[in-house]
């Protein structure tokens, strides 16, 4: 609601005072990003069962804004690699990761996704970090849903510290000058 002209001072409107906040753009962007992460569930083994449990009513992933599981990588922010990544699956995981728009993050959930786990074998990739950059590793075999929530909160803290605007601008400048 706008006050009548004769009551308004030149550069100050007392009516909107309570609705204005001052902050850094980075902080605002990060705040929005971290509270609405849409996961791409890359469920490959038993960890996926725990991931489903984390998304269901008892553990309720939506308390942290990450309940919108997207099965299309183009709509997702964070890929949760939950389970054993076999060599046969490895390049498919990489391809799904490449299809996700930036900014994007990756959680390696459980021992297998982090390091190959107990599968010291010809068939299993020894950690998804050999193919895609991982932000958070979650230990456990499989990790309990609480551990996934903890990992998600760690990722939120990590996002808080990012210089998202500066980095985005730098990429834009690089793109334009290239």
């Amino acid at each position: 609601m706008v006050a009548p002209a004769d009551q308004t001072l030149a550069a100050y409107d007392s009516k909107v005072e309570g609705n204005v906040i001052f902050t850094k753009l980075d902080a605002a962007i990060n705040w929005m990003r971290k509270n609405s992460m849409w996961p791409m569930p890359m469920g490959l083994a038993c960890c996926a069962i725990e991931m489903m449990a984390a998304a269901c009513s008892r553990y309720d992933l939506s308390r942290f804004g990450a309940e919108v599981m997207r099965f299309s990588p183009r709509q997702a922010d964070v890929m949760i690699v939950a389970g054993t990544v076999t060599y046969k699956m490895a390049l498919a995981v990489k391809r799904v990761w490449d299809q996700m728009p930036a900014p994007k993050w990756c959680i390696a959930m459980g021992a297998c996704a982090s390091s190959g786990g107990m599968y010291r074998s010809y068939a299993v990739l020894q950690g998804i970090d050999q193919l895609i950059p991982v932000d958070v590793y979650i230990s456990g075999c499989p990790p309990r849903p609480e551990a996934l929530l903890e990992g998600l909160m760690r990722l939120q803290h990590k996002i808080e510290t990012e210089h998202s605007f500066v980095e985005q601008k730098k990429e834009l400048i690089d793109e334009l000058t290239a």
Binding site: Y87, A90, M118, Y119, R120, S121, Y122, A123
Partner: protein, 190 residues
């Protein structure tokens, strides 16, 4: 007719082709010549009513001649009897497919081919089933290391060697008691 009687019937019918019969805790096994394995299996299906092929697998006795052995596990829903048929296979030999007798053998034989490298003559579609087409090794052979071998097929797949930090974590089969069978027993004492 129970499994023991069926074994006798098969012995009578196929004579010399049946090299050996074994009975262990109610499980009956026939060891047969590879050449007569297929007619024998067909006879099992058609005349002895083994209508269910439970599994097809293979063994690698590296250093022994012949090197490989095929194993067929049969079951009949009419008479509820199990029968195991085994046949030795030399490295350069092809095994006649049984996928025309039991269609389920199609994928079982593909798996045997993929993992062990045994070829099946007459198979309708003998491709790898677990590893990708073009993978150069047969991983379940005894001369294939547990940690794997590096391989590379651009855009399709790749493998690397897995680190065996404190491993390999495999038991020593056949030796002594459970303490010496433990993988930890072979570690240098800390």
């Amino acid at each position: 007719m129970n499994a023991a009687e069926m074994v006798q019937a098969l012995k009578q019918k196929f004579g010399d082709a049946v090299l050996e019969t074994k009975e262990f805790r109610g499980e009956h096994t026939l060891v047969v010549k590879l050449a007569s394995a297929k007619p024998l299996l067909k006879y099992c299906r058609d005349e002895l009513n083994f209508d269910y092929l439970v599994d097809v697998s293979s063994l690698d006795y590296m250093g022994k001649e012949p090197r490989f052995e095929m194993v067929y596990e049969l079951y009949g829903y009419g008479h509820l009897q199990y029968l195991r048929v085994r046949a030795a296979v030399a490295e350069d030999e092809e095994v006649p497919t049984v996928s025309d007798i039991w269609p389920t053998a199609d994928w079982h034989e593909r798996e045997v081919y993929d993992m062990m490298g045994i070829k099946f003559s007459g198979h309708p579609d003998l491709r790898r089933i677990l590893m990708w087409e073009g993978y150069p090794y047969f991983p379940l052979r005894k001369d294939f290391p547990l940690e794997g071998k590096p391989s590379e097929m651009p855009e399709v797949g790749f493998t690397k060697v897995a680190p065996m930090a404190d491993g390999p974590f495999v038991t020593s089969a056949g030796c002594g008691d459970t303490v010496t069978r433990e993988p930890r027993s072979r570690r240098p004492s800390a």
